[in-house]
Amino acid sequence: MEILKLEDVGYRYKDAPKDKYVFKNINYGFEQGKMYAIRGKSGSGKTTLLSLITGLEKCTEGKVIYDGKDLRKMNLDRYRNTDIGIVFQSYNLLPGLTAIENIILSMDVSHVKVKNKKEKALELMKSVGLTEEHANRKILKLSGGEQQRIAIARSLSYQPKIIIADEPTGNLDKDTENDILKIFKHLAKKENKCVIIVTHSQNVCDEVDVIYELGKN
């Protein structure tokens, strides 16, 4: 059962000529419990596709279907803070907050009903290999790998069915990359998440179940 489906999706920038598409006729399907990689050369539209899946941009053609519902008819803010977790290459954490505050903020936004948010946040941090000691550090006091783990923990804070990551290991060393990939694999296989990784890393592609190659339809 596909949790996410792209049907004839095409995208063109607003100021671009009518026939100048970034991509066209994309038909991808994504299931829970599997890891996916979306691969492509620079400029092939990987990040643009991610923004269509996360509802940050709208398709020029076709539609994105989540759990049987057309994304265009959904509350996209609600979709982003409940159904899909996003992990960025540059982490996109709030530097003014501590690690744990970033995770709790995400819980607040998604209105997760948890008795003790702090406890839950610490639990999530442990699940991505961080200790309580990291919790109260400001984001900028953490390493890249630690920040990426916090970003993953944040995306898991409201238990979404899909985790989508944009070049999550792009800024990390080999060992850290492997650690992060293990976390994603665990989420897909053990926690039945649909994990989509936008990447051009072969190492990542080697670990996933399905690879979609942009620009090679």
Binding site: T47, L56, R80, Q89, G96, S106, V109
Partner: protein, 523 residues
């Protein structure tokens, strides 16, 4: 709830920026408090003045209307005077009828007549004496002798006299006795003017200070045979407070004994009267209108003159009240006139202070709005990344806008409170210096009116006859309460308005920003 929490965290996190915004809002709040306090006090002063000084209408003779019907030439004099005599004057009953109007708060009147007296010497610069003229005629010759008393003859005139003829043998003597008036070049009337007032309000000369009680005080019973007399008449006739004076009806010869309750001084300095020995009020005896009404009830032939004063509810009542009087039968030769122009002139200086304060407030707010808007724009540009992150984790544009507005609102409210306190301290000296002259003038006017009635500085007239000028003016002897709830409420209103205007930058930017673009730029 998390929006408020985020706002508070953000305020603390961005201390520098918020201190800068806070200082600007503090300056705006302090200057706005001073301005609003001045405006508020000025409004109160104008309101008090308007309450204390009613719009008073009276009925004036429309001479212009009459002159249009005048005819020219020597022969037309009689018909012109007849035309004037034929104009029907209004009576006391008419005045009472006019006074029953929905447009009026109250009304009062001055009712005047004139009486004589056998016991009082009239204050005048002329007097009358008797002269005798004898003409003796003999059968053969005729001589005429004329004799006058030893008095010097001033510019006066003979009046018609008695003629007696004595015949003795061949001599016939015709004796003509006549009265001659010794007077100045300007003749005067010979009666005592008795002015009856229906209330203290009607006593305009006392309210304005033209007349002032020197001894005793104003009577309180407006129907009793009590009066106040001029100091000149009192001196001439040795009248003191408590004396009884007797006046006589010139028609019926009935006499009335008045108890003198006070002696007033006429402070008027009319250049036209400089050639006269006594002031115009010398023979004026002031009493209550009820006294005159009783006299008229006893003798309807007494010539009276009535001056009504109608206190209008507001400015808008002038026109309908005038129309109502016409409907009620006021003769076309009479018109309603008011003191509106005088009132407006009197409040002009305070209105100027209000205009200045309003202009200053508007300019302050415009400049403040622009400065805050620019600071907010810069702030938003600095926080684009934060906006992008919030949007990607699913915070709606609306909630994000609320958070940004809330941040500014919290800073604004704190600084408005501090600014209001600073403004309260500044408002007193500034407000006092601007308004002190007005306050002093107002107080002096009240004290003067009280003095004019012989009641002293803190005197109260008592009873329903207390003049409006003394009871309705709320005494403003200090501006302690200048920053009151009204000012605080207005200040908060301005603060919220400014916050919303300056937050427009945040609102518009948040609507326009694409989160992905922001995050890409950051990357």
């Amino acid at each position: 709830m998390y929006i408020l929490k985020n706002s508070l965290i953000s305020i603390i996190r961005n201390k520098g920026r918020n201190i800068l915004i806070g200082i600007i809002i503090l300056a705006i709040a302090a200057s706005s408090t001073v301005t609003l306090a001045i405006l508020n006090t000025a409004n109160n002063l104008v309101k008090n003045y308007e309450e204390a000084h009613d719009i008073i209408a009276t009925i004036a003779f429309n001479r212009e209307q009459l002159s249009q019907k005048f005819q020219g030439g020597e022969d037309a004099r009689k018909s012109n005077i007849e035309a004037f005599n034929n104009i029907e004057a209004f009576t006391l009953d008419d005045v009472k009828k006019y006074g029953e109007s929905e447009y009026l708060k109250d009304y009062y009147y001055q009712y005047a007549t004139s009486l004589n007296s056998d016991t009082l010497t009239k204050a005048t610069d002329s007097f009358e004496y008797e002269v005798e003229d004898r003409q003796t005629t003999t059968s053969s010759s005729s001589t005429t002798t004329g004799g006058n008393a030893d008095m010097g003859k001033g510019p006066g005139g003979m009046q018609g006299g008695e003629r007696h003829t004595i015949t003795n043998n061949n001599t016939t003597t015709v004796i003509t006795k006549s009265k001659e008036i010794f007077q100045s070049a300007r003749n005067l009337t010979g009666d005592f003017e008795l002015d009856g007032y229906s209330s203290y309000d009607a006593m305009n000369d006392f309210v304005s200070g033209t007349y002032q009680i020197q001894e005793g005080e104003m009577f309180t019973d407006f129907s009793a045979l009590e009066c106040v007399v001029s100091s000149e008449l009192a001196t001439l006739n040795n009248i003191t407070v408590g004396s009884t004076i007797t006046l006589k009806n010139p028609n019926t010869q009935a006499t009335y004994d008045f108890i003198v309750k006070g002696i007033y001084k006429d402070n008027s300095t009319n250049s036209e009267d400089s050639a006269k020995m006594y002031s115009p009020s010398a023979n004026k005896i002031i009493t209550g209108s009820g006294v005159i009404e009783n006299l008229v009830a006893q003798d309807s032939t007494l010539v009276t003159n009535i001056t009504p004063y109608f206190i209008l509810k507001n400015e808008e009542a002038i026109e309908p009240f005038s129309a109502e009087l016409k409907e009620k039968g006021l003769n076309e030769y009479y018109a309603v006139s008011t003191n509106l122009e005088e009132l407006e002139t009197a409040t002009q200086s305070i209105e100027n202070v209000k205009t200045f304060a309003t202009t200053f407030l508007i300019i302050t707010l415009i400049i403040a709005s622009i400065v805050l808007f620019v600071i907010n724009m810069i702030n938003i540009r600095e926080r684009k990344y934060e906006i992008g992150v919030f949007r990607t984790i699913g915070v709606s544009k609306f909630k994000l806008t609320i958070q940004f507005v809330l941040e500014l609102l919290i800073v604004s409210i704190i600084m408005l409170c501090i600014g209001a306190i600073c403004g309260a301290f500044l408002a007193k000296p500034i407000g006092n210096s601007l308004l002190q002259n007005e306050i002093t003038a107002s107080q002096e006017a009240n004290e003067k009116i009280s003095n004019n009635f012989g009641k002293g500085q803190d005197g109260h007239m008592g009873g329903p006859m207390e003049p409006r000028g003394t009871i309705q003016v709320e005494k403003i002897d200090k501006i302690e309460a200048i920053v009151d709830f009204t000012v605080i409420a207005e200040l908060l209103g301005i603060g919220i308005l400014l916050t919303i205007i300056s937050s427009l930058a945040a609102m518009i930017s948040i609507q326009r920003f694409s989160p992905l673009t922001i995050l890409k730029e950051r990357t």
